[in-house]
């Protein structure tokens, strides 16, 4: 009797222990499987096609599906890229082809103006010149806006000299400044930072261009650089009309034009372009200004 009881107890204990052991092992196996799946998912998110064995296992089926997903998203990206490139090529083709005859028109209109002409004809000649100038401006803007439209800004970041950056940018706006009697005071700096020389010059020229455009004649524009631990700051400070606080965020938006400057030429592309260029290089831009007392734009470039 008691023998039977004992053996029953022992048996049930053994069965229990066996079940517990099995459950434990089962759980561990599931856990391991889930870990592998998680890793595979992570790799798929990263966009890698994973090797899979062609057998009847679930594992291979999962990888197969993941690879399909990755392929699909890749194809979509490639197609979008291709279309973008087509538009890009078209825009730059057209704008270049238009600008050649346009330059000729401007040249001949200029020559015509220098001729001895009856009064009426002289007026017309200068009218032609002025309109051609306008057209030229719009073509330039068109090229510039095509930059931002289509991922055209391909920056190649490398350690470059800040001095050279400032010197090149200042040179580009020298003539314009001279016409208004504006002095550009640039401090030289021994620092270097990580940026793309060509695009960053373009950005800085845009800032200086604005500074010249919106400053009174005979004023001063200051350009200086300040090193921080992770960033290098290039500041452009003018004595112009300034920017109201409500507008300080808006000016970096595409096609935003302040109602106060509607008399000036422009399409509202410049600052947007500047911000995109700087952002692409891991930097950022900031503005500090009060209406009437000038604006200060700070461009932060990476130092490491």
């Amino acid at each position: 009797m008691s023998g039977a009881l004992i053996s029953a107890v022992v048996l049930s204990c053994a069965a229990f222990a066996g079940a517990a052991g099995y459950t434990f092992r089962y759980r561990r196996r599931i856990r391991r499987q889930m870990d592998t799946v998680l890793e595979q998912l992570d790799r798929a998110i990263g966009g890698t096609i994973q090797e899979c064995s062609y057998d009847e296992s679930m594992d291979s089926a999962v990888i197969q599906r993941l690879n399909q997903l990755v392929e699909m998203s890749r194809m979509n990206c490639e197609q979008a890229d291709r279309e973008r490139n087509l538009v890009k090529a078209l825009i730059s083709d057209i704008s270049h082809q238009v600008r050649t005859p346009l330059t000729n028109i401007m040249l001949y209109a200029g020559l015509l103006e220098e001729q001895e002409l009856p009064e009426q004809a002289g007026k017309m000649a200068s009218q032609i010149h002025r309109q051609a100038d306008k057209l030229d401006f719009f073509m330039k803007e068109l090229v510039r806006s095509s930059y931002l439209e289509t991922e055209m800004i391909a920056v190649h970041v490398e350690k470059s000299s800040v001095d050279e950056l400032i010197a090149r940018a200042c040179q580009a706006v020298e003539m314009q400044a001279l016409k208004k009697g504006i002095v550009i005071e640039a401090e030289s700096s021994p620092e270097s930072a990580f940026f793309d020389m060509k695009w960053t010059v373009e950005a800085l020229v845009n800032l200086l261009d604005n500074a010249v455009k919106y400053s009174p004649a005979q004023s001063v524009i200051r350009v200086l650089s300040v090193p921080y631990e992770s960033f290098l700051c290039v500041r452009v400070k003018d004595e112009g009309i300034g920017i109201r606080e409500e507008e300080q965020g808006l000016i970096f938006q595409r096609f935003y034009r302040s109602p106060e400057v509607s008399g000036e030429k422009g399409l509202g592309i410049g600052l947007y372009l500047v911000r995109e260029i700087i952002k692409k290089q891991g930097g950022y831009i900031k503005v500090k200004s009060e209406p009437g007392s000038g604006a200060e734009f700070s461009v932060y470039l990476r130092r490491n």
Binding site: L38, Y228, E229, G282, Y300, R302
Partner: protein
């Protein structure tokens, strides 16, 4: 995509007989990838708001929805795990563990979650924040700015839904502040991270894409939607 929504959030404290209305009906929406500053004087309820957003405290009424999930109804245990996975915190006093080196501090929250840290991603973040050479340094060997950068790296490494920063530059001098803020902004942009930052400093707030002003527990300016 909306990553964070609060609806009519209220938090009342009972102080003796008086009821203190720390938050009094705050509704705001944050889109994925935004960098938002919440500004207000001390006592305006901004820290309370941040605690609610991060699931560190329970609202009296109203809802907080993070990444599509209502967290106001979660239990304490659920909240703990939720915080670890979805929220990255950056505090004023860095809160680094002094006995662990930089790398260990950064991967700790990931390890606690039972996940193998993505080494490459962490290295990438360290490089981005200029900490590449400080990987094995101890917190007490670092400057304040560097410590805050480590705290930022720790928040970023877990790939959370939102990063909540409570006066992240409160203990730093102005030039280091500029540096750390720039890194918060730039790293957020590059990783598509949503950042909500609390500050009382208007100039610091200017770095954000959007500013929300808080006064006496209510939103009184800026753009709440």
């Amino acid at each position: 995509m909306e990553i964070l929504v609060t609806e009519n959030l209220r938090k009342y404290y009972q102080l003796g007989d008086a009821t203190v209305r720390a938050l009094d009906g705050v509704s705001l929406t944050v889109e994925k990838g935004e960098f938002i500053a919440i500004v207000g004087r001390s006592g305006s309820g901004k820290s309370t708001l941040l605690h609610m957003l991060g699931g560190l405290d329970v609202p009296t009424s109203g809802t907080v929805i993070v990444d599509g999930r209502d967290i106001s109804g979660m239990t304490k245990d659920e909240l703990t795990i939720f915080r670890r996975r979805k929220i990255g915190f950056v505090f004023q006093n860095y809160n680094l563990l002094p006995l662990m080196n930089v790398y260990e501090n950064i991967i700790l929250p990931i390890q606690l979650d039972g996940i193998k840290p993505d080494r490459k991603f962490v290295e990438n973040i360290l490089e981005m924040l200029g900490l590449g050479e400080k990987k094995f340094a101890m917190p007490n060997q670092l400057s304040g700015g560097q410590q805050q950068r480590v705290a930022l790296a720790r928040a970023l490494a877990a790939k959370p839904a939102i990063i909540l920063a409570d006066e992240p530059t409160g203990n730093l001098d102005s030039s280091t502040s500029q540096d750390v803020l720039g890194l918060i902004k730039v790293s957020g942009e590059q990783l598509g991270q949503t950042v909500v930052m609390i500050t009382h400093n208007e100039e610091i707030a200017q770095m954000a894409g959007r500013i929300i002003r808080l006064e006496d527990g209510r939103i009184c300016g800026g753009d709440a939607v």
